[in-house]
Symmetry: C2
Subunit: 200 residues, 2 copies
């Protein structure tokens, strides 16, 4: 049985940390995995900055709730759900994604979690769902007979893109596209939808 596995940020919604950095005027939060490839280091850096600015989870969610999915993303998902099962496989945190998932019609989301201090509302830690999240997720889906058709834009998506039944790049960088000329790359939802339908 086919399941379309979609990355979230860059594919269905804007990059959450970058939008958040702009909305709050905290430019240090613009740093991404492109600048700091060690995700653990990057997250600790981000949580330190949030603490410095005394930003609670609620403050952050308030900013995120003003964000919208990428234009056409909701319509794409609504069409895709008619053609295949869908799981959004993301390295974001469920507490961040929640307001955006509502605007996407609540597709099923596999991601990570934040650890929040109930008394202060501050984010004190985070809990990764598993190692090599995208690859581990599709290996797990394959273990119960699902056939993942995977789409993403970044390096961390390649594990699922290269090991599923089919894989696609969507609005990726020129560098990644050049590194993987064998992976079909698309920029329009209509082309991606067609490719997923044909890969079933």
């Amino acid at each position: 049985m086919n399941v379309a596995c979609l990355d979230l940020e860059g594919v269905l919604v804007p990059e959450i940390w970058i939008e958040f950095a702009e909305a709050t005027g905290i430019p240090e939060l613009r740093k991404t995995t492109r600048d700091e490839p060690d995700y653990d280091k990057l997250m600790k850096y981000r949580l330190d900055i949030l603490r410095e600015h005394e930003m609670t989870l609620a403050d952050i969610q308030k900013v995120i709730s003003t964000m919208d999915p990428l234009p056409g993303a909701r319509e794409f998902l609504d069409e895709l759900k008619k053609e295949a099962q869908v799981i959004v496989v993301s390295d974001t945190f469920e507490q961040f994604a929640a307001p955006l998932m509502a605007k996407l019609g609540y597709p099923t989301l596999f991601c990570n979690s934040l650890v929040v201090d109930e008394a202060t509302g501050m984010i004190v830690d985070y809990k990764m769902r598993c190692e090599q999240s995208k690859l581990t997720t599709i290996r797990s889906l394959q273990a119960c007979g699902m056939e993942p058709i995977c789409t993403g834009d970044s390096h961390n998506d390649l594990g699922m893109i290269l090991n599923g039944k089919a894989g696609f790049l969507f609005r990726s960088t020129d560098a990644i596209k050049a590194e993987h000329p064998e992976v079909p790359a698309f920029d329009e939802y209509s082309d991606l939808l067609q490719a997923i339908k044909e890969a079933r």
Copy 2:
């Protein structure tokens, strides 16, 4: 990260084969796993009967498209999606479930597939997704860090109900409830929703 794993037939929609037997007036199709515990034998028997009556997949889908989810099921799912990730884990076939999934707002579905002869439209075989489907599915989900909270009504649901983070019976039989007094059993969606929320 929590994921609510829900059985389909008996929990969200009526028993498809029984409804189908009634709609077509073919009483032999009322036989279920309660009468014939060997699922492979049962399915071969069902496909033989469909062939005898020269019923194509399209004929069957036409009947299924007149069926509706159980009253309140859609509203329950819409609420549940706000509280947890949701996957419907079913032993039905995707080609049968499709019209009902549309009426449920397209929750993500893990189930089996029918093999259809393209020329005649007849169902010639079926393909099970994996062995011990419900248990294998939640074991796979656990392997990528998801924590299944499982609900079902039948014997074949016990594998996931007993091995998830939490498990519930919904509109089950007195016999199954008596066999598993340790599993909370509910008959109303509001009670089930509350139990899933508390189990997170």
